[in-house]
């Protein structure tokens, strides 16, 4: 019989590595299995890494981790065809310790993070696909990989195998996700000199900027686009729910081309050289899509547990926090010598009391609302742009009259009652 471990972690993304790291640090025998050539070779992220949850795992990680720039400015654009209403915040305190968040490129970052795990004693195996969980009387006792003699055993298996989590699906923890529960995001890394980035985004060295773009960036469909500054490259991407893409017959690469050539965006990336093209599914079902996260001998963490807050583009932090919570539960379960569902449900309880599920619950109807009522992205963004244009154009009309006209145009376009309904519905979805 094959070797038995305390823990097998499937996946070497932020969730898997956080879990493996914490388990190994606490003396557990950990085997981590990654299907890619190396950690970070398969996964995709827009590129914002939050300081808080990472710091809880590795204090002062920014002193050695391969990060791009600390983000000092976050901008939000409500973009129409030839205009943008924007707001944002720039604060230099974010450019100093302890920082708020960073732009990162996942390939170097994940490799670095996985190496920290190896230093703690994690046995990491790359280029290996886990085909299924091995079960005995309903209890997960190990995994079967695609390699010869590929069975390995453990007290507990952590599924951090990403958004599709075929392994959790095999266990019956979730069904195939519906097209409105996942977004398809495509992105490019565009090489651009440091000086050009600093000039175009009004930054200094070691200052980063993020722009989230709503409205015409997705041709009015439910989704967002983003532009993040790295040291000498830019991440630009766009995603919409799969259902919107199907309904509007959008091709993801067309959408990215549309964004890149949009007059509001083009000058920012002009002259850049395309270095990488990536595409991935993002779990956006939120609270309602979270599957069973603990079973007999098994836990789910990160994207595999659908832990993404689409409204605040938070995911990697939730992955890390959930991975750590899973580890803490496993450490306690080991002390109890009990890896049954009842024992491992400690993870579920911690997760549900944490910011993760609380945040997902707060926005539990948001995606659904915006998906079901497309007017927010399709109509309100252009309306807002027209209003701003009217208000700021100096044409001799008294400002008070302008305000009246703007209000009138709102109510006449959507109708007063419908508009009040829309506002109430939106408020309810995000309150």
């Amino acid at each position: 019989m094959s070797e038995k471990f305390d823990v097998i972690v499937v996946g070497a993304g932020p969730a898997g590595t956080s879990c493996a790291y914490t388990c190994a640090k606490n003396g557990l025998k950990v085997l981590q299995i990654e299907r890619g050539e190396y950690p970070g070779s398969k996964n995709v992220m827009g590129g914002v890494l939050y300081r808080k949850q990472m710091e809880e795992i590795i204090p002062e990680f920014w002193k050695e981790a391969p990060l791009e720039r600390p983000v000092v400015e976050q901008r939000f654009w409500m973009m129409d065809k030839e205009s943008t209403v924007s707001f944002g915040y720039k604060g230099l305190e974010w450019g100093k310790e302890p920082y708020n968040n960073f732009t990162v490129l996942r390939a170097p970052f994940d490799q670095w993070f996985a190496k920290k795990g190896i230093e703690q004693g994690v046995l990491l195996i790359n280029e290996t696909v886990v085909l299924e969980c091995l079960t005995e009387n309903g209890k997960v006792v190990g995994v079967r990989t695609d390699r010869p003699d590929g069975e390995v055993f453990a007290d507990v298996v952590v599924l951090a195998d990403g958004v599709n989590s075929l392994l959790a699906k095999q266990l019956g923890y979730h069904k195939e996700f519906r097209p409105d529960e996942v977004a398809l995001t495509v992105m490019e890394v565009i090489n651009l000199s440091k000086d050009k980035i600093n000039d175009r985004f009004n930054l200094e060295d070691n200052q980063g900027c993020t722009i989230e773009i709503f409205g015409d960036s997705t041709k009015g469909n439910l989704g967002t686009a983003f532009i993040y500054t790295n040291k000498d490259s830019i991440n630009i991407g766009v995603g919409t729910t799969l259902s919107s893409m199907i309904k509007a017959k959008l091709k993801p690469y067309d959408l990215l081309d549309y964004l890149k050539t949009h007059p509001m965006v083009r000058p920012l990336i002009e002259g850049g050289e395309s270095a990488e093209y990536l595409a991935h599914l993002i779990p956006e079902g939120g609270y309602h899509s979270v599957p069973k996260v603990a079973g007999d001998g098994v836990l789910l963490a990160g994207d595999a547990a659908q832990l993404v807050n689409a409204i605040h583009r938070e995911g990697s932090n939730m992955a890390m926090a959930s991975g750590t919570m899973a580890a803490e539960t496993i450490i306690d379960a080991k002390k109890r010598g009990d890896f049954s569902e009842t024992s491992l449900n400690q993870y579920r309880e911690t997760l549900y009391q944490s910011f993760i599920i609380k945040d997902l619950e707060k926005y539990k109807d948001a995606t659904h609302t915006f998906e079901h009522y497309p007017q927010y992205f399709k109509e309100y963004v252009p309306m807002l742009n027209r209003a701003a244009s009217k208000f700021f154009t100096v044409d001799g009309t008294p400002k008070k009259e302008k305000q009246k006209e703007i209000m009138k145009s709102f109510t006449s376009e959507r109708g007063t009652i419908r508009m009040i309904q829309d506002m109430y519905r939106a408020w309810k979805a995000v309150k």
């Binding site: 190396y38 046995l123 195996i125 990989t145 390699r147 010869p148 590929g150």
Partner: protein, 272 residues
């Protein structure tokens, strides 16, 4: 049967970029991998010990500490143990100094366990010289057998090995005495998908790392940059050829056309 396989960590030249300003390899642009020919060398050692039913496979590499990765990779393929010689004194070595250093390490290895066979890749994909294997054989005074495409028989009692070598117009069957040194072509075998226990062993494995002081009777003037008579005069990327003409027809017709073309351009043959 104790087989030692010499392996090298190389940049993946399939995807490496050339810095157009300095004309040197931009090593950051490509991941470091186990030289593909060396992977086949390890695989052949695995195959041979499997056929015989017993044996030990050691791998040996020279390089910076991160070259441990190629030893781990060799363990994945099925090697039993690994040695890395790593020291500033070895840095900047050309093929002459490299084969000297490796032969010293091989002497050290054979002291504990006599070596029956050494296998190397045909050449490394970053240097393409194919000199280190024969260089080691010469220094250890054992026969070098290059361009091996098949080991047809290994007789432990008679201490002989039958080998198929690739030559320009076919192949050659030869017999050699063991110990000897083989350098192998890729077609000698196909790399098998490593079994899970090997993967676990490799993840856990920590090779023996020797510095120059761990080797015996070393002439330091023959090591590293000092021991390397090779001087790289210039490196450049050849410009892409433009234009050109493809000659069609059978061999005779093509030769005729070519002669006509050459006759028309007599100026090309004026000696300078």
């Amino acid at each position: 049967m104790h087989i030692v396989v010499c392996v090298k960590q190389v940049p993946d030249t399939k995807i490496i970029k050339i810095n157009p300003k300095t004309n040197t390899l931009d090593r950051r642009s490509a991941p470091a991998i186990l030289n593909p020919y060396d992977a086949h060398a390890v695989q052949e050692a695995v195959k041979l010990t499997k056929t015989i039913g017993k044996g030990t496979i050691s791998v040996l590499s020279m390089g910076p500490p991160q070259a441990v990765a190629v030893i781990k990779k060799s363990i994945e393929i099925g090697a039993d143990r690994g040695f890395l010689i790593s020291d500033r004194a070895f840095a900047g070595a050309d093929t002459l100094a490299t084969s000297y250093a490796l032969s010293k390490a091989l002497e050290r290895i054979s002291k504990d366990m006599p070596v029956d066979l050494i296998i190397c890749g045909k050449h490394a994909i970053d240097g393409d010289t194919g000199q280190v294997g024969p260089g080691i054989a010469r220094r250890l005074d054992i026969p070098p057998v290059t361009n091996v495409i098949e080991v047809t028989e290994l007789n432990e009692v008679e201490k002989t090995i039958q080998i198929k070598r690739k030559i320009t117009n076919g192949y050659e069957l030869i017999q050699a005495q063991v110990p000897c040194l083989l350098t192998v072509e890729k077609e000698i075998n196909s790399i098998e998908y490593s079994p899970m226990p090997n993967m676990i062993k490799a993840a856990r494995y920590e090779p023996v790392i020797w510095s120059v002081n761990d080797l015996e009777e070393v002439d330091r003037t023959q090591l590293g940059l000092k021991g390397s008579p090779t001087i790289v005069g210039k490196m450049f990327t050849p410009p892409k050829p433009e234009g050109g003409k493809r000659l069609e027809g059978n061999a005779e017709e093509q030769v005729k056309q070519l002669m006509e073309l050459l006759n028309d351009k007599k100026e090309l043959f004026v000696s300078r």
